[in-house]
Amino acid sequence: MTSLAFLRAGPLTTVQDLGRPGLAHLGVPPSGAADRSALELGNRVVGNDPDAAGLEASLVGPTVRFDGPAVVALAGADAGATLSGRRVVRGEAVVAVSGDVLELGRCIGGARAYVCVRGGIDVEDTLGSRSTDLLTGLGPAPLRDGHVLRIGSEAGLPPPRAEPVVAAPVEPVLRVVPGPRHDWFAPGALDVLLSAVWGVTPATNRVGIRLDGPSLERRTAGELLSEGMVTGALQVPPSGRPILLLVDHPTTGGYPVIAVVATADLSAAGQLAPGDTVRFMAFHP
């Protein structure tokens, strides 16, 4: 069976599938690919089920060697990938032979690049998922130089098929549903959220994105009792600057949530990188 050897793992490369939904009542975060659409696209291209495990690389991608034949596709941010020197176009399946080296560079047009292999990454699952959860340590450890991963069986999979990859907008506008705690904020705070241009700070990871911009003022200073949190929640700590919760977020929290990013825009949120700017617009489903 083919394996993948990590010659250079990159600053943060993890195994991700579609995560561990349905366990939040135990304190288990959803986890899974931060840009779920990209992982699903990459999996479709190589003929996998949508929830097959692939690699998620943050900011700078890994360099891996195939020890056997494999069919591979790139998705998400453009990491300038080459396979033994030949450029790999995102959304197209390419065939690797034993000894081929897939090299990813710095991510452009997003924070995260995805590598999907036909058959999926074959690691043991934890609570039904192969995803690495950085908050809790569930799932496989982040990849290190020298690690080797096995590729799963291709038996029964449909043939690969290419798909176009649409470039992400330079300054995305994410749709948000106001609430559930917008009434904890001063009148006008929601308008400030929706009119400001927000900066993505370096304090950004799979747990959440700290945004920089004007302060969202509270109506009252009271403490919120801890309540369940969803991915995409814009949680506002006492500083007034919101934190956009991503997939490895704690399942409960005590800061009021002024609005929640719409499901269809969560993948775009998962591609925000430090230094990017982002805006929000109201969405009433």
Partner: protein, 202 residues
Amino acid sequence: MTRVEVRAAGDRGALLEVADNPAAVRVAQALRRELDELVDVVPGHRTVLVTWARDAPAADLATVAEAALAGAPVPRGRSVELSVRYDGPDLTAVAGLTGLSPEEVVARHCGTVYDVSFLGFQPGFGYLLGLDERLVVPRLDEPRTRVPAGTVAIAGPYSGVYPRESPGGWRLLGRTDAVLFDAARVPPALLAPGDRVTFVAQ
């Protein structure tokens, strides 16, 4: 009938507000039982968060919740006894903050039956309500970067046990050998909302 307020939590979620934690536990159990289309049902202190995938709930959430609260109370959960070595680094500080001796702090921490109100923060971390009022102390100004697994701690109205080594801002009273969370176990979490917990000093 008790009214339950339902707030939007994104386009595929809702937050139900109820009167108290027992109500949250009851409503969560009813929603989990009756609505298969829900992905997550997460009790909080006085709330229940629900999420769904493509199919929105077929039934009205408030109606299901209000019916659950109007019905007979659900039986209480299991009783769990946790054996504790009270040698935590904050025992003396808690004694200082409360005007009690360390022995009295231990006696009061062991002297009540706690209700598991909800789980959060880390897998298997139960927020236990029922703390002796004299032991209500604020969390640390500066959280510790490392709190060992099994550490028994208090903060505000809660007591809890850290399931694994993690950062933490609660005041540390002691340690237990109990395994609060094990992904390979069924169920993985030792505690569930509605369970009752007692601490026993070793």
